[in-house]
Symmetry: C2
Subunit: 341 residues, 2 copies
């Protein structure tokens, strides 16, 4: 039997192609508005998986545009009633449904404060899109699974396209336009050795760095949500500061390395944890000391490479959830839209 | 036998009084410089516990000053070699030793980019302090335990004093000056019921909101570091979006509520998790449904209240570590200064 999640993961290449086909001019307009504003800071507002997309874009924007990015809790406006000083800023809201009242309130507050406002929503014309000066529709189609997959991917794709237009970065734009093909290839990367290790595991560390850290956070959330696995994301640079204390005795670790400037550090961390006795899996080649390499798509632009990894992971975790006795479409205690209390 | 950690936790009220006595004029000067700059964004640079202090200050600065705060990974400069656009910004570096080369590099990069630079270090005159335009010495005295306690507390105290001076916020300044007394009271809050529950636990969720979320992150790190407990911090607003899937069957949850605008939401989340079967402990009164209240210091300024909780927690976790068979002074595999790879 095919689950909704399985069908939606397989649909990712087509969903991304659909988004790219529909949003070329809207992205160019929003990019031009960002160029004209030249913001001193980009503020992001999002929750859950959408906040992981925002975190991915934080690293991408800082590395490509050199503009600092602040993730602001919607509660600053909705709970604490505080307006931020945002007259030289841009504000990006990300929400699949575009309906969460606290995120809409934060976006409206940012607009009143003078920020350039942009929204990414899957539901076109949602309240969040209407509250923003520029809106891109994610065009991922209906997502029936509680676990967001194709909408997460298209959120990041949308943000990267916006960034490429803003910075007029031709290499990044070409890498984004080539993503549907890379995602097809990612779906055929088989992470079976990791599944065999995790079928009875209780805990997992997921490591990444730069945009790969945002993917590590998304991976850890999906492990909990679909498979009851207490996975936690760490920056590969932070894990040796304290969290490594519980890594021993075959503790499983998934290190999300990609071929970028941070890879040597990620490899060293992976090797050190393996030397402590951990079972370490790495999505790159080049590590020794018993670290096992997982298949991955090679020769990608470093800013898009971590996003391609998540597509392989989604196919993997859907299957792992079923092996662990969960229905990935129906995580316990969760609903698709969570009202924030 | 007294451990170093135990002695250092007991010393917190005196260490904070020492900091406050030594830094009144340096904090006033730095606050005046922030007022003159009127930054559009505050960028923070830190790792480990110091990054939790930065996260605390993020919420405090956003709520009190209305200025967005971006935590920037030191790797942006040190690994990826990217200079950020920071001419209208302020940059705050926090490091106990003040020696981490990547944090010093990021601070130097921020200074070259035109940011107003400020440093908080425990070691006076450390490289990070020398790289900054303004520096406050944390004056916590030598910290022998690998687990940072009094230096963490003084980092937050220093940042809050800076904020009070910057904003000329008399109520906040008075609350900061009263902290040594509040910390004394916090040391006598006994969390024994939580210790009884955690003595054999493997996992724990720690929930907080606003500045309390930063304390939740610090609590979770210390649980791992000293006691081999896989604790993870969540925003009380986020936990129902997915992580709640693994909360059932007496899963332990520590909810760090304080008497502020977010408390009703924290209480509702605590009650909902308790209804799922979790063992929920809350550092506030007012919850029903089997949620157990832990003793806490009452009637505090909402911006300092979460910091007072961490002092009760430190005394608690040092004792729990010993009950779980760990030496809190010597976590496995950790060193005091971690070189980031």
């Amino acid at each position: 039997m095919t689950t909704h999640m399985q069908a939606e993961v397989q649909e990712i290449p087509a969903a991304t192609a659909r988004f790219l086909g529909a949003n070329a001019s809207a992205a160019a307009d929003a990019g031009a508005a960002l160029r004209a504003r030249d913001p001193g800071v980009l503020v992001t507002v999002a929750r859950g998986s959408s906040d992981h997309a925002a975190s991915y874009l934080k690293y991408a924007v800082e590395l490509v545009a050199g503009v600092p990015v602040a993730s602001v809790g919607p509660s600053v406006a909705s709970v604490y009633g505080r307006a931020l000083k945002l007259d030289g800023a841009a504000c990006l809201g990300i929400s699949q449904s575009g309906q969460s009242p606290d995120i809409v309130a934060m976006m409206e507050s940012a607009g009143r404060a003078g920020a350039l406002t942009l929204a990414l929503t899957n539901v076109a014309g949602a309240p969040l899109a209407r509250a923003a000066g520029h809106a891109l529709a994610l065009s991922a189609g209906e997502e029936k699974s509680v676990a967001a997959t194709k909408t997460f991917v298209n959120s990041v794709v949308a943000g990267l396209l916006l960034l490429a237009e803003w910075q007029q970065d031709t290499a990044l734009r070409e890498a984004v336009l080539a993503l549907p093909g890379a995602f097809e290839e990612a779906l055929s990367c088989d992470w079976a050795p990791l599944a065999d290790r995790l079928v009875r595991a209780q805990s997992l560390y997921v490591l990444g760095r730069g945009p790969g850290f945002a993917i590590a956070s998304e991976v850890a959330l999906k492990c909990k949500e679909t498979s009851g696995l207490h996975a936690e994301a760490y920056s590969a640079a932070e894990v040796l500061h304290g969290p490594a204390a519980i890594v021993q005795d075959r503790f499983p670790v998934l290190a999300l390395g990609v071929d970028d400037a941070a890879l040597p550090g990620v490899i060293q961390t992976a090797e050190r944890l393996a030397a402590q006795g951990a079972d370490v899996f790495l999505t790159a080649r080049g590590a020794g000391g018993g670290v096992r390499a997982l298949p991955h798509v090679a020769a990608l632009h470093p800013i898009v490479a971590p996003l391609v990894l998540v597509v392989s992971f989604y196919a993997f975790i859907e299957a792992l959830a079923r092996r662990r006795g969960f229905d990935p479409d129906k995580p316990p205690y969760l609903n698709k839209v969570t009202e924030t209390l």
